[in-house]
């Protein structure tokens, strides 16, 4: 009976690494893995992710298997009468298990620096392609219009429906109107907090045409979960044509007969 309890507990602990690894193995096939990467820098982020996952994965499996093995091997039921041994501790061992993780962390810190700098520090020298203003609970957009400058009468104002050209660097000027939000483009491996009172530059380059999600990744109020936008990547000529069309709509002085229909069919 006692032995059975020992077997139960050790197998339960063994189940942790087994199920843990199985979860990761199955995840991509049931579509709960990283969303499709459509950015020029995403592979760098992804390979960092995989590298750290592998590193922590090996340590995780080793630790968990060791836990199982100790439970199994040193089960009191199989070692009746054997007294516990007293050890003083091992200085060498302590030094080793301090230095190895410290060195690993230091290595990671240095190894990821370039990726971090590319995404957050090496801001391209260009005017903003679009200004995104987060607000409870929507994304207000402002394009600079033909003169390329924001804050002029030819700005184009839109909401939630972001369009951007593919295969070129774009610079988003991120602001918040009320509280903290976070501008999250899962398919572009971009996540940046929007902070009230700050203009934060965000840059990236989309590589594949299509529609992708914009979501808020910072709990910003009761409607946070509904604060969704859409980014559509199109070719440069299509993008320019879209800007022109939207600008013409914004400057309308007459109701268009199909305007109502188009809003519905949009």
């Amino acid at each position: 009976m006692k032995r059975l309890a020992g077997i139960f507990w050790s197998l339960l602990f063994l189940a942790v690494p087994v199920l843990g690894v199985a979860t990761f193995a199955i995840a991509p096939s049931i579509d709960v893995w990283l969303p499709k990467d459509v950015s020029s820098h995403g592979h760098e982020i992804d390979s960092l992710f995989y590298f750290i996952l592998a590193l922590t994965g090996v340590v995780f499996i080793a630790t968990e298997v060791l836990l199982f093995w100790f439970l199994w091997k040193y089960d009191a039921a199989t070692r009746e009468g054997e007294p516990a041994t007293y050890i003083q501790g091992s200085h060498t061992l302590e030094v080793v298990w301090t230095i190895i993780p410290a060195a690993t962390l230091l290595f990671l810190a240095i190894y990821q620096m370039n990726a971090w700098a590319n995404v957050k520090m090496r801001r391209p020298d260009m005017p903003p392609t679009v200004e995104v203003v987060a607000r409870q609970f929507e994304w207000r957009l402002r394009y600079p219009g033909r003169d390329g400058a924001l804050g002029t009468p030819d700005d184009l104002h839109l909401v939630n429906d972001l369009h951007l050209p593919i295969d070129e660097e774009v610079l988003v000027q991120l602001k918040s109107k009320d509280v903290l939000h976070s501008f999250f483009l899962p398919n572009l491996r971009i996540k940046q907090d929007a902070v009230p009172g700050m203009k934060i530059p965000v840059w990236f380059c989309g590589t594949e045409a299509g529609e992708y999600d914009i979501v808020c990744a910072e709990l910003c109020g009761w409607g946070h979960y509904k604060m969704k936008g859409r980014v559509t990547f199109v070719t440069r000529p299509e993008f320019d044509a879209w800007l022109e069309r939207k600008y013409a709509e914004q400057e309308a002085t007459q109701p268009e007969p199909e305007a109502a229909g188009e809003l519905v069919a949009n």
Binding site: N160, A260, A265
Partner: protein, 419 residues
């Protein structure tokens, strides 16, 4: 040890069953209590005898349920011109229907601010400024029709699509067109229902003595006398869109802006009265919109009643009504005139939208219609001037503003240093 524990466990389970696991009461429309207790039609003589009796309130609720159904199962009469399929999509609890389409859109997206009855009294309403729209009076601000007309379906769709910048209403641009369409239809439904409720309550005061305080519950009376006049206004809206003359094309923009500036400051349009000479919205700012004005009027009447020589019964009624105001209405707030230099336009930023706003005014708000006083060509000049305001940092107005900077803090600082 076991015996004394058992009653405790039983009690815990019983209370859990009673509180936690009991069936949720079905969603129900709320009666317009403010109107029932102090009818707005009779505001000049708010008094105890005008309040509807409990029986009369019950009759209104019964008639409304017969005409409109419940929030879970809404229905409409053919005379209302509503599409029942769209209402079903928008109403009820959030769920998927047999073909996997999401139903219950109103409760997913709107109810927390606009309330289950469309009374603008949802749980988040009190935290918002401006307050969410109360659909029941059937008044809508941003539309392409004349001031007293209803908005068109396309107007409601446009507001859902763009949101209302400057208020808490977000955009629903990414919902499917069918979903937005259904929500606009449901807003109309709630509005027609609210207007019908108001009409029913007001009808009680026109009853003869032989009616014994009861309304006739015949279909002819309810549909022909009450519902049809309301529904007709809604169906007529699409035919009542304002004719907009072409913007004067030969005009130089700068010249047009200059004309607009003169009109803005002139006596005829007199925009400065509320929007201020600087257009910062700092003119007359102590007015209320219609929704708040009703509450303010009743509140003032109550105060007068309490101060005057009311008899005991009236005092009791006034005290009771104070309670109704606290639970059924939000604290009234003034409506500030728009600061036209922000470049935020609640009803849309197209020149066309601004033309509609100036031409027809804003229903429910103090903004008057310029139609009739200002020529349509001149309205276009004002539109051009207003559109230039957010970018007008130099020139005379800018100079005015520089002068207007108060030397207060500097003086205060000097005083502190002397101390």
């Amino acid at each position: 040890m076991k015996t004394p524990l058992r009653p405790l466990v039983l009690a815990a389970v019983a209370s859990l069953l009673a509180v936690g696991c009991g069936p949720t009461p079905p969603a129900a429309f709320r009666l317009n209590m403010v109107e029932a207790v102090a009818p707005s039609a009779e505001k000049d003589s708010v008094a105890a005898e005008l309040a509807l009796s409990i029986d009369q309130q019950r009759q209104v609720a019964t008639i409304l349920a017969a005409l409109f159904g419940s929030p879970d199962e809404p229905f409409c009469q053919p005379e209302m011109g509503l599409d029942p399929a769209k209402l079903r999509l928008a109403a009820g609890p959030v769920r998927s229907d047999i073909v996997g389409r999401k139903n219950g859109l109103y409760r997913e997206h709107c109810v927390h601010c606009h309330g289950i009855t469309g009374d603008g009294l949802g749980p988040t309403a009190a935290f918002l400024n401006p307050y969410p729209r109360d659909y029941r009076p059937g008044i809508f601000k941003f539309k392409s029709t004349e001031r007293s007309d209803k908005p068109t379906h396309a107007d409601l769709v446009k507001i859902l699509h763009n949101g209302v910048p400057g208020s808490s209403m977000p955009s629903f641009a990414l919902l499917s067109p069918a979903e937005v369409d259904a929500l606009a239809e449901y807003v109309k439904y709630l509005s027609i229902r609210g207007e019908t409720e108001l009409a029913l309550m007001r009808t009680f005061f026109e009853l003869d003595d032989d009616a014994q305080g009861k309304l006739a519950e015949t279909r002819e009376f309810l549909i022909d006398e009450i519902v049809a006049p309301i529904a007709e206004k809604w169906t007529a809206a699409s035919e009542a869109v304002i004719e907009v003359p072409e913007m004067p094309a030969d005009e130089d923009l700068a010249a047009s802006i200059e004309k607009g500036r003169a009109l803005f400051h002139g006596n005829k349009a007199n925009c400065v009265k509320c929007h201020g000479v600087t257009a910062l919205g700092d003119g007359q700012a102590n007015d209320y919109d219609d929704w708040n004005k009703d509450i303010v009027k009743i509140r003032d009447k109550l105060a007068k009643l309490a101060a005057g020589e009311a008899d005991a019964a009236e005092r009791r009624w006034a005290a009771g009504f104070q309670e109704v105001l606290v639970s059924e209405a939000l604290r009234p707030r003034t409506i500030p005139p728009r600061n036209l230099r922000h470049g935020i336009y609640r009803g849309g930023r197209r020149p066309l939208d601004l033309y509609y706003r100036i031409h027809a005014g804003i229903n429910g708000a103090p903004m008057p219609a310029a139609k009739g006083t200002v020529a349509s060509e001149d309205i276009w000049h004002i539109v051009n001037y207003i559109r230039s305001l957010p970018y007008d940092f130099d020139g005379e107005l800018g100079a005015d503003r520089a002068v207007a900077v108060r030397p207060g803090p500097a003086v205060g600082l000097a005083a502190t240093q002397e101390d």
